[in-house]
Symmetry: D2
Subunit: 341 residues, 4 copies
C-alpha cells in the first residue's frame, strides 16, 4: 500500500519534501501539490506525477490524499492543520505548528475534541543519529542525573527577510523542542540575554544567549548566532551528576595541510540534517502504513504548542529585558503516557 | 517502474539485502528468492511477498526477475553470475566475484563477449560517505600527488569457520578494492609480513601487515587484525605531496565520564557500513530504473577480477614468505574510459 | 644573582611553591619560611636550607628576603601584602588578593601611594600554554571581533570545608580573571543562575551558571561544578564575529579499547596546571632578576581587586536572586598603559 | 652544588643547549664552550659567562668542567665521547652516538672496561609527556600484549645538505630508539620499502616506509617523509591484543573558521619537542647532582650503539633492495638489569 500525500507549499523545504516523498521515501507517493505560486506548483506536480490542486482546502479534501504535509508560510499552518483534523487526515506540519501559542492551542483542543492524535510537527532533530545517541545516553543513565546543558546554534548567514525575533521563533525553536525532549521536562521560564552585536550584521540582535529553566530545576544556556560566517554549527553538552554527553559535528575525514589538522564544519542545515529529514519522513510514512497516525518518538501537537509557547515567552522576555514564565494549558490526557494509545 | 530482483542466498547478508530491497530501497521489489535451505527461503519469500524459486537457475530464468542479487557462498558466485550474463540480466554479486582469479576472468571474458557490462560487485565502501570524502579530497588535489597510504582493518572477533587465508581473501579484499579505487591504479605486487600472533587467538596468524605496491610506485601498508577485541575499526590515511586525508570512525557523541573523554567505536560492520549497503543498493536500482546496468562509480567485473587476483597473490606471498607479483590479463576496452559507454 | 624568596604559608600550595622556588625555578632560593604550624614550617625550612621565621612580619623584614610569596589563608592576604608594600618588597600573592573588595582596594591605594607596582596575583592560567594560545588567537584577529564566551570549570569533588559561596570566590574567581584578561574588558555585572542540585552533593548549590557582562557588551556564561565526579575539566570557547577559538583539555595519547576511543581527562588541577604554576614562578623570578617588580602579562593588584570585586558581586547576585552590578573604583594611572613604566 | 658543563659544538642545537644549561635548567652552569667556529664560540661563552676553550680536548680536561655535552658534528662524537670516558667525566652525547656501529661499539667497550656507565645519548623523546604516556599505557597492560606499531615521522622540509641515507640515520633513528624502548625489545631486521617520490623534492628518495622486526616477532612500519610541507608531524599507534594506544600531536586550542574545525600541527621539532629537551637536560643534571652518571630511563651507550646499528642495517637494506638483519654484539652485563647498579 502506498500512502498518497498532499503537499501544501512548494518553497525550498516543501519542494525538498515533495522530492523525498516521491523518490526517496519507501511507501509514499505525492498525490497532490498546492502553492499560491501556481506555476511553480504545476511544474513540480507534473515532475512527480501529482495533481496540482486549485486551493489548499481542495487538496485536503482530495480523496487521493491520504495524508497532508504542511510546508506553507508559518502563519497559515494552524488553519491548514485544523482543516486536516476536520477532514480526519494525518498531517505532518513543518515547524512552527502556529505562530502564536493561542493558535497552537486551538490545534491541541481540536485534536482532543476529536479524541485522537493526527498531527506530527517537523522537529527533525529527533531523527538525527547524533541527537538520538545523546538521548539514549541520558536515558541509559550514562551521565547520572541530567542537571544542565549548554547549546550553540549557529548559521553562517541569514537572508534579508530574517528579522529580530526570528532568531527565537525560527532558529532557537529547535532547541526549545530538543531540550524538552532530551530532559523529558517542560520549559517553565526563559531569559534572553543581550550580547554585543556582531559588527558584520549590526542590524540584527545577534548573537544572543537564552536561558531555559526546566520544570525540575535543570537549566539550559543556548546561544543563537545566525550570522557566524564560518559554517552551520549545532552542538550541545548535557551535564549530569556523574558525566556529560556532548553532540559534536559529524566527522568523516581529517585533512592535514597548511599547518593544520582539520575537520569540515557542515556548510548548511541541508547537509547537516538532510538524513534526519529523510528518516523523519520515512518514519511518518511507515507509521501511516502501519495504521498509526503519528510516528513513535515524533513531536506531536502538544510538543508543537509547547515549543511556540516557549518562543513567545522568549520574545516577551527579550522585549521586557527580563525573565518571563511560560504559561501552558493543562496537558490533556491524550498527550500523556496513559492517553496515548 | 519497479525493478523485480531475484535474490540467491538467504544467509545473513542475503536476508539483509532482501529486507532492504523490499522495504528500504525505493523502486525495487523482491520477485524471487532461492536458497538450498529451502525452508528459510520459503519463509523469507512469504514475508516479503516473493516467490520461492526451486533452484537458482530457475530464479535466473524467471521473467519476473529483472535483475539478480547473488549472495550465496563465494564458491558459487562465478557460475551464478555467468548464468545471469547468459540470461542477459544485470547482477549485483556480493564480494568476491569468484574464489579464484581464473574464474573471475571467465566472468570478465563473458561480459566482453556479450559486449556490455552487466555485473556489479558488492564493494560497499565505494558508497560510504567517509570513503567518498577521501576520494573526493584526493581527486580535488587537496593533498597534492598521492604517494602512499596506511590502513587498518580490525574486527573484534571472527567465527570458528574463519581460517588463515580468509584474512586476506575475505577481510583485506576490501582494502584491495579500496586502494585501487582511491589511487586509480592497479596493485602490481604484494608482500605479507608475519607479525607476532595475538595470544588471544593463537591459532590464527593474526594480526598481519600486507604491503601493496601500485603501478605508479605508490605503496600501501595495510594491517589486518580480525581478533582485536575492542571493536570494528576501519581507518586509513592517504599521504600526498602537500598534505594528507584520513578516514576516522564516524562520531556522533562524546561522553565524559570516569576520567575519560570518549567516542564510541563501531561494534561491528553492520553498524559501520549499514548505510553504505543501503546506498549501494539504491544506486544499483536507480541505475537499472534509468536504463543502465551498473551504477556509476561501482565496482564492476574487472574490479572484482582485480581484487581477487590481488588476494590470490597475497596468499601466495604468505605461503612463500616473500613478495609476489600480481599478474592481470590485459584490460579489455569494455572497462576503460573509452569502452564504457 | 639569586632572588631570595620568603614564603608565608606552608599548606599544600605553599609547600609546592617552596619546592618549586628551591628546586625547579632558575635563579631563586627560599630564604625564609613561616607558618603558624611552626613544626611543619621548621621541617620544610630545614629541607630546603631556609630559615624558619618566628612571625610573618619578621619574615617580611628579613634582609635575606628579596621578595615575598604569600600562600597563607585568604583572609590574611591583604594585611601581609600591605606589609610587603611598606617594606618595599615585591610580593606574589596567591589568589585571592583579599577576601573583600574593600581590603583589595587598600592594597591598590597603597601601591598607588608608593608610586610603583610591587604586587603580582597568582592567577596562573595566564601562563598556561592553552590559555595563552586562546589569547593570542583573539589578539591576532583570528576570530574577528570577540562577542561572547562559554566556559566550564569542573572539579571532581571538594573537601568538606568547601561551602556555598566558595564556588564563586574560590573556583570561578579564576574565570573572572581569565575573561577580563582575554577580552581586555572589565566585568560590569553578574547574574548567578540557580540550577538543579546534583543529588551526589545536595548540601552544595552545585552546579551553578554565572553570567558575566563585560564593559563592551560581550557576555560570558560560566558553569561551576565542583562535584562533577569524573575529573578536572576546564574548557572554554570564545566566539567572535568570524570564528571561534576553544580551549580543550591537553591531549597526549588516545586509547582504543572496550569499544571506545578515549582521551584522558586531567584528574586534578595539579596535573592540569602544574606547568602553568612553574612558568608563573619562573616569569616572576626572571622579572625580579631583571630589575622589574611584576612579570609582564601577569595579574597585578588592580586585577586582583577587580576579580574579588566580581566575586563579591556574584555572591550578592546569588543572595538576592538577581543581576548585580560590579562597582569598581576609578582605575589609577599606575595600572593603565600610560602609567605602567 | 652547581654542575659545571662543558659544551662542545655551538651549532643550532648546541647553542640551544648552552642557553638551557645556563638559564633554564636548575643546578647547572656552562663552564666552558668550544667550537671550531671560534668567534661564535667566544661570543656565546661571553654571553653566558663561560670560558671559550682552545680545543675540545682542552675543554674535556678543564677541571671546571664536571660533565660534557657533545653537540658537534656526528662524525666527531665517538672520539670525543671516548675522551670523556678516559677523563672519567659523564657525557651527554647528541644522537647519534657514532656514525658507524663499529665506532659506537668502541664506546660501549670502553665503558665496560671502565666498569661504569658515564654516557647518555640524546634521544629526547624518552622525556616527552606523550611518548611517556604511551610507554606507561603499554607497561600498565592497558592494551594487552603489544604486537605491532605504526609510525609516521614527517618534516615540512629539509636543508640542501640533507641527502639520501640521512632520512634513515638522522630522522628515523629516533624511531629506532623509540620502538626498542616502547617494546623493550631489540630490533633484529629491517626492510626499506621504496615509495613513489614526492615530485616536490624528487632528488630525495622521499617518502619511505621502513619495516622493523623486533626480537619477539612484533613488527613496526614507520614512514619517513622529510618533505611533507604542511608541518612537523610525529605520531604512532601501538597495537596490542586487547586495545591500542596512539600518540597524536599535542592540542591546545581548536579554531572554528572558514568552514573548518582545526587544530594546529607543530611547525617544527623545536616547538614539538622543546619541553622534552628541557626535561632531558634537567633529568641529566639532577642525576649528576645526585651522584649518578646517567639519568634513569635515558638512552645509554648500548641504546646509542643499537640505534646506529639499526640505522646502518636500514641503509644496507635500502642498498640491496631487501631485508637485512641487525647484528649486535652480545649485550654486556653493564647494560642489563643486573649490571646496572
Amino acid at each position: 500500500m502506498t500512502v498518497g500525500v498532499g503537499v501544501i507549499g512548494t518553497g525550498m523545504i516543501g519542494t525538498q519534501h515533495v522530492h523525498r516523498l516521491s523518490r526517496a521515501v519507501v511507501g509514499s507517493s505525492v498525490a497532490a501539490v498546492f502553492d499560491v505560486a501556481s506555476d511553480r506548483a504545476a511544474a513540480l506536480a507534473q515532475e512527480v506525477g501529482a495533481r496540482a490542486a486549485g486551493s489548499w482546502s481542495d487538496l485536503v479534501e482530495d480523496p487521493q490524499v491520504d495524508a497532508v504535509m504542511v510546508a506553507s508560510p508559518g502563519d497559515l499552518h494552524a488553519e491548514q492543520v485544523l482543516a486536516c483534523l476536520a477532514a480526519g487526515k494525518p498531517v505532518l506540519c513543518e515547524k512552527p505548528l502556529a505562530t502564536t501559542a493561542d493558535d497552537a492551542l486551538k490545534v491541541v483542543e481540536a485534536e482532543v475534541a476529536a479524541g485522537r492524535r493526527l498531527v506530527q510537527v517537523g522537529f527533525m532533530r529527533r531523527y538525527d543519529a547524533g541527537f538520538r545517541d545523546v538521548k539514549a545516553a541520558i536515558d541509559a543513565g550514562e551521565i547520572g542525573e541530567p542537571l544542565l546543558a549548554h547549546a550553540v546554534h549557529r548559521n553562517p548567514s541569514v537572508p534579508d527577510t530574517f528579522v529580530g525575533e526570528m532568531s527565537l521563533t525560527d532558529s532557537l525553536v529547535h532547541e526549545f523542542d530538543t531540550f524538552r525532549w532530551l530532559f523529558a521536562q517542560e520549559i517553565v521560564a526563559t531569559t534572553v540575554i543581550a550580547v554585543r552585536h556582531s559588527p558584520l550584521a549590526s542590524h540584527l540582535r545577534d548573537p544572543q544567549i537564552v536561558l531555559l529553566e526546566l520544570a525540575n530545576g535543570a537549566v539550559v544556556d543556548a546561544e543563537s548566532f545566525v550570522n557566524c560566517r564560518y559554517g552551520y554549527d549545532v552542538r550541545c553538552e548535557v551535564v549530569g551528576s556523574t558525566g556529560t554527553v556532548a553532540l559534536d559535528n559529524p566527522r568523516t575525514t581529517i585533512v592535514l595541510g597548511d599547518g593544520r589538522r582539520g575537520e569540515q564544519v557542515p556548510p548548511d542545515w541541508g547537509v547537516r540534517f538532510g538524513q534526519a529529514y529523510q528518516d523523519e519522513l520515512q518514519a511518518w510514512i511507515d507509521a501511516l502504513a502501519g495504521g498509526a497516525t503519528v510516528a513513535p518518538g515524533a513531536s506531536d501537537a502538544w510538543d508543537g504548542y509547547a515549543a511556540i509557547s516557549v518562543a513567545e515567552t522568549a520574545v516577551a522576555s527579550f522585549t521586557r529585558h527580563g525573565r518571563a514564565e511560560v504559561r501552558l494549558a493543562d496537558k490533556p490526557r491524550l498527550y500523556t503516557g496513559e492517553g496515548r494509545s
